[in-house]
Subunit: 350 residues, 2 copies
Amino acid sequence: MEELDERKLKILHAIIQNYLETGEPVGSRTISKYADLNLSSATIRNEMADLEELGYIIQPHTSAGRIPTDKGYRLYVDNMLKEKEEELAGREQEVEKMKDFLSEKVDRVEELLQNVAKTLAVDTNYATMVSTPQYHHNKLKFVQLSQLEPYKILTVIVMDGNLIRNKVIDIKNEISPENLLKLNVLLNSTLNGLTLEEINLGIISRMQNQAGEQIELVKCVIDAIAETIGNADDLQIYTSGATNIFKYPELSDSSKASELICTLEEKERLTDLITDSLQNEDNQGIQVYIGSETPVQTMKDCSVVTANYELRDGVKGTIGIIGPKRMDYEKVVETLQTIRTQLDTVFKKT
Amino acid sequence: MEELDERKLKILHAIIQNYLETGEPVGSRTISKYADLNLSSATIRNEMADLEELGYIIQPHTSAGRIPTDKGYRLYVDNMLKEKEEELAGREQEVEKMKDFLSEKVDRVEELLQNVAKTLAVDTNYATMVSTPQYHHNKLKFVQLSQLEPYKILTVIVMDGNLIRNKVIDIKNEISPENLLKLNVLLNSTLNGLTLEEINLGIISRMQNQAGEQIELVKCVIDAIAETIGNADDLQIYTSGATNIFKYPELSDSSKASELICTLEEKERLTDLITDSLQNEDNQGIQVYIGSETPVQTMKDCSVVTANYELRDGVKGTIGIIGPKRMDYEKVVETLQTIRTQLDTVFKKT
DNA sequence: GTTAGCACTCATTGTTATGGAGTGCTAACA
DNA sequence: TGTTAGCACTCCATAACAATGAGTGCTAAC
């Protein structure tokens, strides 16, 4: 209803910060010792009662201290994000380390992202996930057939955005180098720049007419192309540090832990998170999900912070950090901002 | 010292089987009720005392039942393996399901193996791992450069065993199609069939002489080849079902579970297991590690069963199942034998 | 509005008691 | 000599209970 006054806010802040550190319910005495307030525990108690009524904190049981509710965390995080936004990028610390590391091996994106996940996990002590950027490279850029063995043809398919796929095709009848060359020209002149939808039956049959004896092979190649385009934007997700959750007693309960690790291992359910994160492009691409706010049911006892990075216009991926609700939001947001800009620049320069 | 007589063996067997099912220490009364023995609990107790002295079983504490020691499991497993060997492959059950499944998509080995791991995990309720076959394709079979964009060259590198890698190289000066063609011919005529060691400085400098303006590009290509060969037989390991371990209380303890899942997640330590498994090619490629027998320290409270599959002469991979010591060895060994032969045939036909 | 004081609550911890499963040993039996 | 019934003993689990103490809400005084 009514807004929180300055003092209540300070107290709430203190409660949350203390809880972030200790993970234990925090009592009025603890807060009263907090220097810049100079209030007795009784006063704090009164305020705490109010805060509880307003739904920002809660007692696990009578005669225990208070812990923040999701609503309490939300307020805390929103305030922090506002600050961070004003602060702007005045950092640069530990960016260097990451920069060196990232620029080292940019050739294999897969490895790079896996490494990002791992480094982040080690760094933050939370579980992490990184998705491959969601290309929409659905146009064929280039096809190349090469003779590998008498009855094996190597097909190299390059999609828009330089996504490269290989496939080895077995053929029944040998093909001469000249015919192979002709076929290459035919394929490229006919198909390049087309999307999956544009490669329709008309084009296919026209090609097959020109292919002569090589009908069989052309069919295989088109199949391979179709499959490649179809699977091209299949999202990959890398995870790391799943076992970090055991560092937080509130998540170490074996049934909870099992569910959570399972979610991270199987990865399918994480797509919802990524989709959601990509849709909500607020605070510089940083998104904080607290408890039940997360789109993934099995993470309702956790908090998740995601950041979107951009490879090129509209081609985006997501990094996520999964930890207890009492995660160090400030550090996590900072780290994510750093790595996000790093990734952006690494990719942009390519 | 002396061999176990028939009766002791039967009793040991009964104890182990009962323990496999319940996971609880088993007492003399339980065994005495076992039909085909017809002995009183007192007699059983005497025998059990002997078995304990011989080191096959142990009491967690006085006044508890007995549980098998590693030595006990060993005996049990050895006997079982002997039987299985004589039995030979008279199965075929549920092979069909697997066969359909496996033959569906053989093109992407990676996906296939990941799926094997997953299916096995769901099937057995244990954690699983599958390694990629250990190629030794260290010979260059074929190189192909293609123009992708004015300043980007696509390099396709094919190694012995049809391992294909791509790399995009940025160039400073444009290159004409004719020169590219020449370069392709030069590269292939000079390098094909060579190992990393054989591509020495002499060959490189001779090639650079012939390359004319393209020295820069040749250097890049050779680097790419060297890197590819170097990383070619980098072993990949896929794991699945890590969270299955929570189904067994004796492994669910959060510190143990954490260590174990971490081992599975990081994968590095699993290479020791694979190496060992590939070295000990006994019982039709099936290997059983009980407790501390496993080469991976963090799995000393588990048992591991591995099977090696063969892609082609000498090119082998490993499948592993990680579970509690009281795992259902019989079922696991059977399943592994089945999937092993399946994988063998799937690969052989390719 | 703030605070000191006090009675009250309740999770946690430690202690003790009780039950029961399982053993080893002895003595009797076939 | 091998098998079995009987019994005293051990020791883990489980429950019941008491003590502790952190933390609260409320009241009355400042």
